[in-house]
């Protein structure tokens, strides 16, 4: 098992390095002049020349890459070339707790909705309950998250004044301010994912419920609850966990639209802002972190299989 984990870790590092290299060169191919964007109409020609030199853009791309790669290996992701040149690691470390908070609450909301909905839908196949759950699952899937986000803001913030419309409050400033700022964005993000997970649980449960061992368990006279929770659900969750793992990684990097609507600067927004500004170091750093999250979530999911299903062993 340990050997397997070690191998996967080495593989993960290689994937991240490959992604970082690819992103470095692809960014240079993308049209857009970062210096022109930075100076807008403010800077003089002397300022422009000085900026090109200071940022090392007067050197060849390969020299720039080697310098960046060397610094990265030393744990230095560089500094933003935009604004006041904040260190990339600071920008990412500031954004990460916001993203993790949003992803976590969204994830919990998605599971709270998806688990009972999926189980209910599977155990009451082709009944009104199943149709209602399926209808809402499709609704959740087809509803754009930014639209839901705006709707939630209008209803719960602008009209009812129950929750804040925008912003983020760190947990260090208190649990309620933190949680209240995350409720609406988490519902907006979590609803779509809950629909995906509920559909997965339904189909997986249906398959499991028809398995021989389930018929055997039923014939033993086990209670419905025990049948479902002890025997059916763990087996039904194995394929679902793969989706959940990817969904969690997607939540971390992909909630950018909702982050924008609620003015929460998470990792996704850092990445998008970096791309818009052609802020190369920020984009490279953020992509590196996102790729690490994806690789590690996949590894985590693989390890989780072994815990849920003792038949799975890695050597």
């Amino acid at each position: 098992m340990l050997t397997y984990i070690l191998k996967r870790f080495i593989g993960a590092i290689l994937v991240m390095l490959a992604v970082a290299t690819l992103v470095f060169f692809m960014l240079r191919l993308v049209p857009g002049d970062p210096i022109a964007a930075m100076l807008a109409d403010a800077g003089s020609e002397e300022a422009r020349i000085a900026m090109v030199k200071r940022l090392g853009f007067d050197k060849s791309v390969s020299v720039q890459f080697l310098k960046w790669f060397e610094n990265m290996l030393h744990g230095d992701l560089g500094a933003s070339i935009y604004g006041s040149n904040q260190p990339v690691s600071t920008i990412i470390l500031e954004a990460l707790p916001r993203t993790l908070s949003l992803a976590l609450i969204s994830f919990i909301i998605a599971l709270i909705i998806a688990l009972p909905a999926g189980i209910l839908s599977a155990t009451r196949k082709n009944t009104t309950t199943d149709h209602v759950v399926s209808f809402f699952a499709f609704l959740g899937l087809s509803m754009p998250d930014f639209w839901l986000a705006i709707l939630l803001i209008i209803v719960f913030a602008a009209n009812l004044h129950w929750l804040p419309a925008i912003g983020y409050s760190p947990i260090s400033e208190g649990f309620w301010p933190w949680f209240s700022h995350l409720i609406l964005p988490s519902i907006a993000v979590g609803t779509g994912f809950s629909a995906i997970i509920a559909r997965m649980i339904r189909s997986s449960m249906l398959e499991v419920l028809q398995a021989d061992y389930m018929r055997f368990a039923t014939s033993k006279g086990l209670k419905d609850w025990t049948l479902l929770i002890k025997h059916a659900l763990p087996n039904a969750l194995i394929p679902v966990i793969t989706v959940i793992g990817i969904a969690f990684a997607l939540l971390i990097s992909g909630a950018v639209v909702v982050e924008n609507v609620f003015a929460i600067k998470g990792l996704g927004r850092v990445l998008i802002q970096g791309i818009l500004n052609r802020d190369y170091p920020v984009v490279q750093g953020a992509v590196l972190v996102v790729s690490a999250i994806f690789v590690l979530s996949n590894l985590f999911v693989d390890l989780l299989y072994a815990i849920i299903d003792p038949r799975i062993r890695y050597s």
């Binding site: 930075m38 006041s84 803001i153 929460i264």
Partner: protein, 591 residues
């Protein structure tokens, strides 16, 4: 005569007087005593601004005069602001500021040597008094004593010199050219400095030393920069202003708190200000309606929200003429609308197919419909760069006399004469916009379809890509323009001269001898107006240049923006806090 016309007449007289001086006079017709501080009179300030080419009717019209603070207002309290149209305030370091929305905040944290108030009277900010030599080349500034930085350091001459040297260095500051005319800054003693200029400069007090628009001489703290480093200082600069930055998390916002040791004990009124960047119209509206924020600064309030805010009895919407213009830029190097010599007489140009197409494109622009559909009525149709906010220079007859006047029949006839009757055979054009102006682009595209029957595809590109292509002249049509200031130079010098900084700066000069437009006649008029002190003569030249660029289709002028301020009625926002383009948060209180 109505009050409005009386006021306008008086303002015009005041403006005329301001410009009445010999342009060769190094003191601009003022006596040495008049320029000497501790405060410049309104007349002197207007004269100095006129001499610097920075004074217009919009600025001398009343309504900008301070009014008394409303009864019932009190000190203290927490103001929550949304900074519109932006995801993060990337810097507050004056040396790095590249957007108005950044110095709108920074000017509440950092002081300059001078600051113009709402009645355009130049006040000493950190300058207590000043003296100018007879030849207009030496400015001796006596500094305010007892001023401290937010970190407790005392402010003195060394800080002025440190700021000067930092700003003069293009590696450190983007605004070195603002003080390019200063040969030397000399410390006379701890509280006196002297600036030695290369040549007389009327704008030296009112712009170069001004804390907001100048940026180069906005005083920074040496101790603060050395202790924090450039990066951290950029987020939370240490200054001597009414508020200090106590927190700035990129993308989350800025928290300002009252600086108890500010030199003016009457200000600031509020204890705390939170500024949250909000990108997107709907979240901005919801935040305002939910009471999450009480005041909107930053980029212009989206037009589609104005009626909604107006119908909300809790909010005040204050609209004033705004400077600037927006246009459809037409690339003259595309074959089907090619014009390689704008110097020909207009009647000759009208015989060329390329010019006929350009003229058809601008005559087809139904600007009223555009303003209604794209700007929800909040804009003024444009036919030149000179806008209503420039008052005296604005030519309100241009909308009917210009070749660009809306004429759908004429536009169709021109397009047919150029070989594209009913738009048949005309290639599909790409109209470049930014993602934020895509909607405007769609309205323009619809107008072209309706009037000319041609297809225009809207191509929304990131600013960094769009500006690169625009500078290289690699576009068909582009939507863009200037936010601008209140002087005609902003439009005609920055955009309409052959050598203008936006006129195809990075083009292939062998293939394209000029950028989007070049007219010797316009160049001459623009150059001459910039050195003409006589008001009526300058107006004539400005309007001449404006008419040439309009008639010869430098671009398709579209609309002039308006300046919209929105705040909750629980705030007391006195008129002296309403300086165009700025937010004097230290004067705002809770009522």
């Amino acid at each position: 005569m109505s009050d409005f016309y009386k006021i306008r007449r008086r303002a015009k007289d005041e403006l005329k007087t301001a410009y009445d001086f010999d342009s060769k006079d190094p003191l601009f017709g003022l006596s040495k005593d008049e320029i000497r501080g501790p405060q410049l009179s309104r007349r002197t300030t207007l004269r100095l601004m006129a001499a610097a080419g920075g004074l217009t009717l919009a600025q001398v019209l009343p309504g900008l005069a301070p009014k008394a603070v409303l009864a019932g207002s009190h000190g203290g309290g927490h103001l929550r602001c949304a900074w519109a149209g932006v995801g993060e305030i990337v810097t507050l370091d004056p040396a790095r500021i590249n957007q108005v929305l950044q110095f709108q905040i920074a000017s509440n944290v950092l002081s300059g040597l001078m600051h113009i108030d709402n009645s355009l009277v130049a006040q000493g900010d950190l300058a207590e008094s000043w003296d100018v030599s007879s030849d207009g080349l030496e400015y001796t500034i006596t500094l305010r004593q007892g001023v401290t930085f937010h970190n407790g350091d005392k402010f003195d001459s060394d800080d002025v010199l440190y700021t000067f040297n930092r700003s003069k260095n293009p590696e450190k500051s983007m605004h070195s050219r603002v003080i390019g005319n200063v040969n030397e800054a000399v410390k006379l003693n701890d509280h006196q400095v002297k600036f030695i200029l290369a040549k007389p400069q009327a704008s030296f007090l009112t712009k170069a030393l001004e804390r907001a628009s100048g940026r180069a001489m906005t005083i920074v703290s040496r101790g603060g920069i050395e202790a924090l480093g450039d990066a951290a200082y950029g987020l939370a600069p240490v200054g001597t202003g009414p508020y200090m930055v106590t927190s700035h998390v990129l993308g989350q916002g800025v928290v300002l708190e009252k600086f108890a040791n500010y030199y003016d004990s009457d200000r600031p009124k509020l204890d705390k200000i939170t500024i949250t960047p909000v990108d997107g119209a709907e979240p901005l509206a919801a935040a305002m309606e939910a009471g999450d924020v009480d005041y909107i600064g930053g980029n212009p309030v989206p037009s589609q929200l104005v009626e909604r805010f107006k119908s909300n009895s809790d909010l005040t919407v204050d609209i004033k003429p705004g400077p600037g213009f927006q246009s459809v830029w037409i690339n003259p190097w595309r074959d089907f609308m090619r014009v390689d010599n704008f110097n020909k007489p207009i009647e000759e140009l009208k015989k060329e197919n390329g010019f006929m197409v350009r003229l058809a494109l601008v005559k087809a622009l139904d600007r009223d419909l555009f303003v209604t559909q794209a700007k929800f009525g909040y804009g003024v149709p444009a036919h030149g760069t000179i806008n209503p906010a420039m008052g005296y220079y604005f030519d309100d007859t241009l909308s009917s006399t210009s070749e660009q006047a809306y004429d759908p029949e004429g536009a169709r006839a021109l397009l047919a004469a150029a070989g594209y009757p009913g738009g048949k055979g005309f290639p599909t054009l790409k109209l470049q916009t930014t993602p934020n102006t895509k909607r405007d682009g769609l309205v323009v595209a619809n107008i072209y379809k309706k009037v000319l029957g041609i297809t225009v595809e809207v191509d929304a590109k990131d600013f960094s890509v769009g500006i690169e292509e625009f500078n290289k002249m690699d576009f068909d049509l582009r939507l863009g323009g200037s936010g601008g200031d209140y002087d005609p130079d902003d439009g005609i010098i920055d955009w309409m001269q052959t050598s203008s900084k936006f006129n195809g700066r990075d083009r292939n000069k062998e293939l394209h001898p000029f950028g989007f437009f070049s007219s010797d006649q316009a160049d001459a008029a623009i150059a001459k107006q910039s050195v003409t002190a006589d008001l009526s003569e300058r107006k004539k030249l400005v309007q001449e240049a404006n008419a040439i660029t309009s008639n010869k289709v430098a671009c398709g002028f579209l609309y002039h923006p308006v300046d919209i301020l929105v705040y909750n009625n629980k705030l007391n926002v006195p008129n002296d806090a309403r300086i165009p383009g700025l937010h004097e948060l230290d004067r705002i209180s809770l009522s």
